[in-house]
């Protein structure tokens, strides 16, 4: 509108188009960051390769069925966290940082599962122990919280649903898993390297919501 015109809604002198656009863009940024419980836009610490992104998204499901975030004003998130991997005495250690950006109202992890890729020789069955390690309340050492045993008899992606101990660790923002192969199959069977085969955890998270209201 012309500089001397009035705002249609409130009758104040209208802004010139350039100022109006800047105001609206700032409003859009603020609105999105507030709804994501972020104080400012994230600066990426470790870029994720397109191959890893594509692989992971093929496994990301749609929004949880029947989820009605408005029902108790909680908001549902699905988070994919790629592992930082390390090897220590023939055991593979996977570290995940499920960041607690969404600290407003607290994070409740409702489900967590590990996705990893295995390349096995033909007609081989491989037993894998997955140990969940957590930080003790007072010390900085990792202690065993629980472990899962699973048999793998085919190459490809495998999913292991993790229990409440791992979910609690994710809620605290940091999860450590140890993959301990049983039997003679070499550790190198679990493909950790390679952008398209990085292990990752998928966590279904709710922020805010009814249980917080009860707690208050």
């Amino acid at each position: 509108p012309r500089a001397d015109s009035q705002c249609l809604a409130c009758g104040e002198p209208a802004l010139d188009l350039k100022s109006q656009r800047k105001l609206l863009l700032d409003l859009a940024k603020r609105s999105i960051l507030d709804k994501l419980h972020l104080s400012h836009r994230p600066t990426l610490s470790r870029p994720v390769s397109r191959a890893a992104l594509r692989t992971a998204l093929q496994r990301l499901h749609g929004p949880p069925k029947g989820a009605h975030p408005e029902a108790d004003n909680g908001q549902e998130y699905e988070i994919i966290s790629f592992a930082e991997t390390g090897l220590s005495n023939n055991q593979t250690r996977l570290d995940f940082r499920v960041s607690s950006d969404r600290t407003v109202g607290g994070m409740e992890v409702q489900q967590a599962s590990l996705m990893f890729f295995v390349q096995l020789p033909p007609n081989t069955t491989w037993t894998l122990k997955v140990r969940v390690l957590v930080l003790g309340p007072r010390d900085a050492n990792l202690t065993l919280a629980t472990q899962h045993l699973l048999e793998v008899d085919a190459s490809g992606w495998h999913q292991l649903f993790l229990g409440p101990e791992a979910q609690a660790a994710c809620s605290q923002g940091h999860l450590t898993l140890e993959l301990v192969p049983e039997g003679q199959v070499a550790q190198s069977s679990v493909i950790l390297g390679g952008a398209a085969h990085r292990p990752f955890v998928v966590a279904r998270v709710r922020v805010g919501g009814k249980h917080r209201v009860r707690r208050h």
């Binding site: 994230p42 992104l53 699905e78 994919i80 950006d101």
Partner: protein
């Protein structure tokens, strides 16, 4: 609801698309490419209170209320141009630890406007 065209002064929905590349957010927001931050603007004279986007019966009820009020000399309260239909915004983005996050933010996109 009605979309704003030209210099329409009545209550309508103004479309406003925010391109994430234009604001330098395309590196951390994976999908979608932008956000339709539509908003409601325009005037709501009393004879259209309760109009577009709200059931006609509501409009009739409001008019009857106004007739009753103006009969006793007190004019009814103002009517505002507000969203009457909204939908969620689905976002796929990287958080500060480069995790991939998917979430639906409810009521983020205004689909229609009407007079309260």
């Amino acid at each position: 609801g009605i979309d704003c065209q030209g210099g329409s002064r009545m209550c309508c929905r103004q479309e406003f698309f925010v391109d994430f590349r234009e604001i330098g957010w395309h590196d951390w927001i994976i999908q979608p490419e932008g956000y339709a931050m539509n908003f409601c603007t325009g005037q709501c004279p009393l004879h259209v209170a309760g109009m577009p986007g709200i059931a006609a019966s509501f409009h009739t009820a409001v008019l009857n209320l106004l007739k009753a009020n103006t009969a006793t000399g007190t004019a009814g309260g103002g009517s505002c141009c507000v969203p009457t239909a909204r939908r969620p915004l689905s976002l796929l983005y990287y958080d500060r630890d480069s995790n991939i996050v998917k979430t639906d933010i409810p009521d983020m996109v205004v689909e229609a406007c009407g007079c309260s």
